[in-house]
């Protein structure tokens, strides 16, 4: 069972890493938008996603958990199309219980609380998992979202990936608390600390938290200790602020290599298998990339798409002006 889980988790973690590497390369060639990779945090991304059920539970991402949303049912080509600026092809399909990525830090937290609260009011047997980082925990929305979740006993799991960095701001100056999980006590619910580079540990604590949420036990805050083994996003340059020693130390705790070593010890992993998986995953990722790239580009009038169910007359006129080439 454990081996089976680890092989499945490894496959997804490798998919996440290989996708990130591919996208970074494309971005450097001007073929992809600004992107925040999850490199180094794959155990958090995949371990947590594997603990929720895509059929019944909802996922409210921030922006560094792309492969978690894919695990939760969002087709890779759809989320890829979003980064390529597509409109229709980037729409989350009906039935996929994922909300859009959120770049306004921590804004998703009160929203996720409302969603979880509402699902309970609608008598649905679902939990919500939402993501935030160490930097996001300083936002007012973190407090307002978690406090309201505590009061309403909303069925929600707040997954905090402490990757030690908010762009260039170290976790050391982000907060004086020694452990992010302690914050949960202030909101009257469970806080759990976990080694965020141990995919099995992440999976276990998240399963417990999801079960707590579903069974009326209220929200949980999971504080996963990990390390951002790349940059904040493709515009960032960590060499200006990051100590090489810290990075090297984190590299030695790489969550993917950790699983590979363990499985190798059981005779379930070797260089041949790694090469084979790498090739298969690259092909999958390429396929999604190709679909997203070839999906129709937006038309100019898509500027006006999806703003109102019934646009005001003035907006309709502006759209007509754009289409007529009068430029408004």
């Amino acid at each position: 069972m454990e081996e089976e889980f680890l092989l499945e988790a490894l496959r997804w973690m490798m998919k996440s890493r290989l996708y990130d590497q591919k996208v970074i390369a494309l971005q450097r060639q001007g073929l992809f938008g600004v992107y925040s990779p999850g490199i180094g945090q794959e155990a958090c991304i995949i371990g947590s996603a594997m603990a929720v059920d895509p059929v019944r539970d909802w996922m409210v991402p921030q922006y560094r958990e792309l492969m978690a949303t894919v695990h939760h049912g969002l087709p890779l080509e759809v989320i890829t199309a979003q980064y390529l600026g597509k409109i229709g092809p980037a729409r989350i399909p009906e039935g996929v219980k994922v909300l859009p990525t959120q770049v306004s830090i921590a804004a998703q937290l009160p929203q996720a609380t409302g969603l979880a609260w509402g699902l309970r009011l609608r008598r649905q047997d679902s939990a919500v998992i939402t993501y935030v980082g160490d930097g996001g925990s300083s936002e007012g929305d973190f407090h307002e979202g978690l406090n309201l979740a505590g009061v309403t006993r909303a069925p929600i799991v707040f997954f905090l990936s402490n990757n030690q960095w908010a762009i260039s701001t170290s976790r050391k100056v982000q907060t004086a608390t020694r452990n992010f999980a302690l914050r949960a006590a202030g909101y009257g619910f469970e806080g759990v600390e976990v080694d965020g580079n141990d995919v099995m540990a992440v999976y276990d604590v998240t399963c417990e938290a999801v079960e707590r949420a579903r069974s009326g036990g209220g929200p949980s805050l999971i504080a996963a200790e990990t390390y951002r083994m790349s940059f904040h996003n493709t515009t960032d340059n960590p060499s200006r602020y990051q100590d090489q020693k810290d990075y090297d130390e984190a590299r030695s705790r790489d969550p993917i290599e950790r699983v590979q070593k363990y499985l190798a010890g059981l005779g379930l992993w070797d260089a041949k298998r790694e090469a084979q998986w790498t090739e298969e995953i690259r092909e999958e990722n390429e396929r999604a990339m190709k679909m997203a790239t070839e999906a129709p580009a937006p038309r100019p009038e898509d500027v006006f798409a999806n703003v109102y169910e019934e646009p005001p007359p003035r907006v309709i006129r502006q759209r007509a002006d754009l289409v007529d080439g009068q430029g408004g």
Partner: protein, 325 residues
């Protein structure tokens, strides 16, 4: 037919919609047993229970953000922000989040959320309580902005807001809450957004206003009769969508226009009205469009608010100047 003031009209609208649709819920500060600081939600918790009439923690961003999530779960939240000025502490969940969510999700999600907020001066409120910041939200496309001026409109427009699949900011003129009653039918009825209402006929000049300023304009129009000036009053009712058609047709007819609002002058919504009239009916005008507004200073202590807000005298004087131009 029942006569109601604005507080009662709003209460009636909320009760009608909660009765008709079990997804409709009310949340905000003190909306439960207290019935809201202005009593607009009075009695709702007894009738519909604490699960649907919810006293929330004191957190504006939390109230709005949670309303967005509640809507995605299939509820129809009507959130009360205790005073419009307090939206500053939740603005990022309104403009950047609620208003943009349909677009950000490429149309997968929409937010059927109504935010109610009392506002305006004239009731000697403490600071921050009176701020008329409606124009700030006009720069956040995606949210509709509704500014009723009387009980009948308040009920019809609020029901329309609750049923609108897109988010609506519904600003209530607290000065008029317990003012003149008017006939407000029992039962649900709606008034469409984007339809301005000519609340007083007049031949020589059109006063354009919304919310509490409509009442001021009506009084000004009465006062101007003594000068032999026949002033029409146009109540915009909603700023987004804006009824450009009626506005332009009406002003073209009287050929003169004075816009009155209680928010500061510069970049107030009056500037939008004036600019629109320049673009659309410039050659039908006999005089420049005038604006009467609050001054370009922060809302002062209540002891000075009568000097800060547009007064009857300032409106009447502006109309006289416009007639002489």
């Amino acid at each position: 037919m029942a006569e109601r003031n604005i507080v009662e009209a709003i209460n009636s609208a909320l009760a009608e919609e909660m009765e008709a649709d079990p997804r409709v819920m009310v949340l905000g500060l003190d909306v439960g047993k207290l019935g809201g600081v202005f009593r607009t939600t009075s009695g709702l918790v007894d009738r519909f229970g604490a699960e649907r009439v919810v006293d929330t923690p004191l957190a504006e961003a939390g109230i709005v953000g949670a309303s967005l999530g509640l809507a995605l779960a299939g509820m129809v939240p009507v959130a009360e922000i205790q005073f419009l000025g307090f939206t500053a502490q939740g603005f990022h969940q309104i403009g950047p989040q609620l208003a943009k969510y349909r677009q950000r999700s490429r149309g997968r999600y929409h937010c059927q959320v109504t935010i109610r907020a009392p506002f305006g001066g004239g009731i000697r409120s403490p600071e921050f309580h009176s701020d008329g910041v409606e124009a700030q939200f006009v720069q956040s496309p995606g949210i509709k902005i509704v500014m009723p001026s009387n009980p009948y409109d308040a009920k019809g427009l609020l029901i329309e807001a609750i049923r609108d699949p897109d988010p609506v900011l519904f600003c209530e003129p607290d000065r008029l809450y317990r003012g003149r009653r008017s006939v407000v039918p029992d039962g649900a009825y709606t008034l469409p957004f984007g339809k301005a209402q000519l609340v007083r006929e007049g031949e020589q000049v059109t006063l354009v206003a919304w919310s509490a300023a409509v009442d001021l304009c009506l009084r000004a129009a009465d006062a101007l009769v003594a000068d032999g000036i026949s002033a029409a009053v146009l109540d915009l009712r909603t700023l987004v969508p804006l009824d450009v058609e009626t506005l332009c047709a009406q002003v073209a007819k009287t050929r003169r226009c004075v816009v009155v609002h209680e928010a500061p002058l510069s970049a107030g919504f009056g500037a939008e009205i004036s600019a629109t009239l320049m673009e659309e009916v410039f050659y039908d005008l006999d005089a420049p469009v005038a604006r009467v507004a609050a001054f370009d200073v922060p809302f002062p202590p209540a002891s000075l608010e009568d000097y800060y807000l547009p007064s009857l005298d300032r409106v009447v004087a502006a109309v006289r100047r416009t007639m002489e131009a």
